[in-house]
């Protein structure tokens, strides 16, 4: 069966990470995503190391399932070509600073004039109003602003950033992707396109909904808890006899007896200090002392066996080398190996969803800057003088 977005065309006027990642999954669903880059390419992503065969991994990873054309929108002739392409598009995505896209003549009004049914996404760092409206931002800046560093770090220690400087980018991107799909659904029902606005700062706050709720209820600023949780106990890493850590989370009441059995501490099951999560949160230090002592008596491998037997959430701390061949990862296709024309064999993330009757994918490697300019022009009957 055809993929879900077969026949949908996307004009991808994005830069850096947020925008490019937002359209990438539309391509995996079958949309024809045309990444439009300025002459020389997206200078916000193309220079960022690490590189593979000279191409930034940011560019490689963000552009799977897309075609790539070069247009110089500062030239009237190329702008006219862009509008011709846009006439045949369903979706338009941009994540430029406030004012930039309007200067290029690619604001919502410009685009909707040639294509009123367009779904137009304007993504920004901080929004289009307020004291920071004119600012761009990269992932770590939003991490700093959004509050989430203040709940990360060693217990009793300083606030810490997440050094994978892409989680907020991808969170924003995934919010955009779902919004586009939602708007496509609405357009099927109403025939109308629309404008969608998303900000990195708000997306970053959204994934803290639960933590912000705790703060708003108590007015007590939450602090870093290492690997621990403010709401569930025990839910943290424990050091084992072999100096490895095991992650353990008792997140359901019915998992507590299982943990006690695995640890051979059955007397704790009905101990009123620990029997319910609320009591365990109140007696955290006491409980953790006892439990941590017990974990030190056997290696991590044993605890994983014992806890899994009792259906208590647990996991080892894995790294890339162990992950890509892990049977859980392989079986579900969570990471996939791609053969690419430009960069050799690569590991990529797999698709985040499974559709039982309209399978998405496969993931096709992205393209180099301007690779499809001539082909797309030919398909759309566009002629350009020069070049």
């Amino acid at each position: 069966m055809a993929r879900i977005l077969e026949g949908i065309r996307v004009f991808d006027l994005t830069v850096a990470a947020v925008g490019p990642w937002s359209t990438r999954l539309l391509g995996a669903l079958g949309a024809d995503v045309i990444r439009v880059e300025r002459p020389g390419g997206d200078n916000l992503s193309s220079a960022v190391p690490p590189k593979i065969n000279g191409t930034s991994v940011l560019h490689i990873s963000a552009n799977h399932n897309k075609r790539n054309i070069e247009l110089d929108l500062k030239q009237e002739s190329d702008r006219a070509i862009a509008l011709k392409i846009i006439e045949r598009c369903d979706v338009f995505v941009q994540n430029m600073r406030t004012g930039t896209v309007e200067r290029l003549g690619m604001g919502y009004e410009d685009v909707a004039r040639v294509n009123p049914a367009i779904i137009y996404v304007a993504a920004s760092a901080y929004g289009r109003s307020g004291p920071m409206a004119s600012y761009g931002a990269i992932d770590p800046e939003i991490q700093a602003m959004c509050g989430w560093c203040s709940i990360m770090g060693r217990e009793g220690g300083r606030a810490e950033m997440f050094r994978h400087l892409a989680h907020i980018d991808l969170t924003t991107a995934t919010y955009i992707t779902q919004a586009v799909l939602q708007a496509l659904l609405a357009r099927e029902r109403t025939g109308k396109g629309q404008k969608i606005e998303v900000e990195m700062l708000r997306a970053a706050m959204a994934i803290q909904t639960t933590k912000l709720a705790e703060y708003l209820a108590t007015a007590a600023a939450p602090k870093p808890l290492g690997s621990g949780s403010s709401t569930h106990v025990p839910h943290q890493a424990f050091l084992c006899q072999d100096q490895r850590y095991v992650a353990v989370g008792v997140v359901r009441e019915d998992q507590w007896p299982g943990l006690c059995r695995a640890l051979k501490l059955p007397e704790l099951i009905s101990d009123p200090r620990f029997a319910l999560n609320a009591a365990r949160v109140a007696h955290r230090d006491e409980l953790i002392r006892t439990v941590a002592q017990r974990f030190l008596t056997k290696p991590a491998a044993w605890w994983i066996i014992a806890l899994t037997r009792e259906k208590v959430p647990n996991a080892p701390f894995l790294g890339f080398e162990e992950l890509h061949d892990h049977p859980q990862v392989r079986t579900n296709g969570f990471m996939v190996e791609l053969e690419t024309p430009h960069w050799g064999r690569l590991w990529s993330d797999g698709l985040p969803w499974k559709f039982d009757s309209t399978p998405a994918g496969p993931i096709r490697p992205g393209s180099m800057h301007g690779e499809h300019t001539a082909k797309i022009f030919a398909e759309l009957g566009i002629e350009r003088r020069g070049k």
Partner: protein, 401 residues
């Protein structure tokens, strides 16, 4: 209130609990769907997560607006039949019981789709629907640990540090939304529903995709993605009154000289580590980690507001590292209208995040407060055509509450 959202007229049956499924279905409710949250008599366990506002869990309140709560004991045949009837008139069903478990309850997608082939079913699992870990229940930290998120926090040789937010649940919910909207779009075009599935482990691995590319076959071990594995904890830059973060973007020789002199750092003017007008020495620049102590020495007598103004004056980016009190009262957050207030029958007025994305034609809205347990059982069963006496009999039999 009339509903203009993209899900207007759609009914969602939500069997999910805790954080992930409810965060997903809250967005469907914000988009105008009628979301029927089916709970066992004991209620969604999230109702007991502290802290509490009056007798309501703050976390539960933050995830369950725009829903109706119906208590049905679907572990019993009469209750299961009621849920099957609900699903028969629904557009979407969301469940998170774990692979195959919903079928064991007699509510598997294939079963329900026989009567309602237009149904979109969404299954959420911890580790995926196949493989040796498919039946292992998940928890925030165990998913993060498996997906190597803790490799980007803390320092080598020290205890693991987790991402503080509940990302294994909340980010996965966004992928569930994508899958549901895509499936509904397909159904609008073809008339056919289908089952979709997401997992927490798969979602977090997906979101680390740049890393897998970077680790595959890099030209050299160079660049911030790779460095992030070996760098120590990243605390930003200390100033007199709190941490901040900055990067230098554009710059001119004149600005750079002024900046360096203002900070009393003249001796580094021609230091190659500060090359390219300081871009190599900040943010993701290659020498940023080495020269941090030099910056912090220069910053220690100044407030972060002074440093931020100075960086901005030369076209760089600088932001404070905020905690929650500072975030909530920040003028930019206020300008965005990021928070809203909801009046709840027992918890009173509480503050929560407003819907994130703005749609010009299909606006989101808050239609109703998070429900108390079983608040809508009678209403919903009546709307299904059950009589008052039938409903009373089900109550007496403790099938519903």
């Amino acid at each position: 209130m009339s509903i203009a959202g993209s899900m207007a007229g759609f009914r969602v049956v939500d069997l999910s609990t805790d954080l992930c499924g409810p965060f997903c279905t809250m967005h469907l409710g914000d988009a105008g769907a009628e979301v029927i949250k089916v709970e066992l008599p004991s209620g969604d366990p999230a109702r007991r997560i502290g802290p509490m506002i009056a007798d309501e869990s703050a976390v539960f309140l933050s995830l369950n607006r725009n829903k109706k709560s119906v208590v049905i004991d679907y572990r019993r045949p009469e209750g299961r039949d009621l849920v099957a009837r609900l699903a028969c008139g629904a557009d979407v069903l969301v469940e998170d019981f774990g692979p195959g478990r919903v079928a064991d309850l007699g509510l598997g997608y294939d079963n329900l789709a026989r009567d309602n082939p237009r149904l979109v079913g969404c299954s959420i699992s911890a580790f995926g629907e196949a493989g040796p870990l498919k039946d292992l229940p998940g928890a925030e930290l165990t998913i993060q640990a498996m997906a190597e998120y803790t490799a980007s926090l803390g320092s080598i040789g020290e205890p693991p540090v987790r991402v503080g937010a509940d990302i294994a649940s909340l980010n996965t919910a966004i992928f569930a939304l994508q899958a549901i909207f895509a499936a509904l779009f397909h159904r609008e075009r073809t008339g056919a529903g289908q089952r979709v599935a997401v997992s927490q482990f798969g979602s977090l691995l997906h979101m680390r995709g740049i890393m897998w590319h970077a680790l595959s076959n890099p030209d050299d071990w160079y660049g911030f993605h790779l460095d992030s594995y070996t760098y120590p904890a990243e605390h930003g830059y200390q100033t007199k009154n709190g941490p901040m973060y900055f990067i230098l973007r554009h710059g001119s020789s004149e600005d750079w000289d002024r900046f360096v002199i203002e900070l009393g750092m003249e001796e580094y003017l021609n230091d190659p580590r500060f090359g390219n007008y300081g871009r190599r020495a900040t943010g993701i620049g290659q020498h940023a980690a080495d020269v941090r102590p030099i910056w912090e020495e220069a910053f220690k007598g100044r407030t972060r507001e002074e440093i931020i103004d100075l960086v901005r004056s030369i076209g760089g980016d600088a932001v404070p590292i905020l905690d929650y009190p500072a975030l909530v009262s920040h003028p930019q957050v206020e300008a965005l209208g990021a928070f809203t207030k909801i009046e709840h029958p027992t918890a009173g007025l509480f503050t929560t995040l407003a819907p994130v994305v703005r749609f010009s034609q299909t606006p989101t809205a808050i239609y109703s407060a998070p429900p108390t347990l079983g608040q809508h059982t009678g209403d919903v069963l009546q709307s299904m055509g059950l009589s008052i006496s039938e409903i009373d009999a089900l109550r007496v039999a403790a099938i519903i509450a």
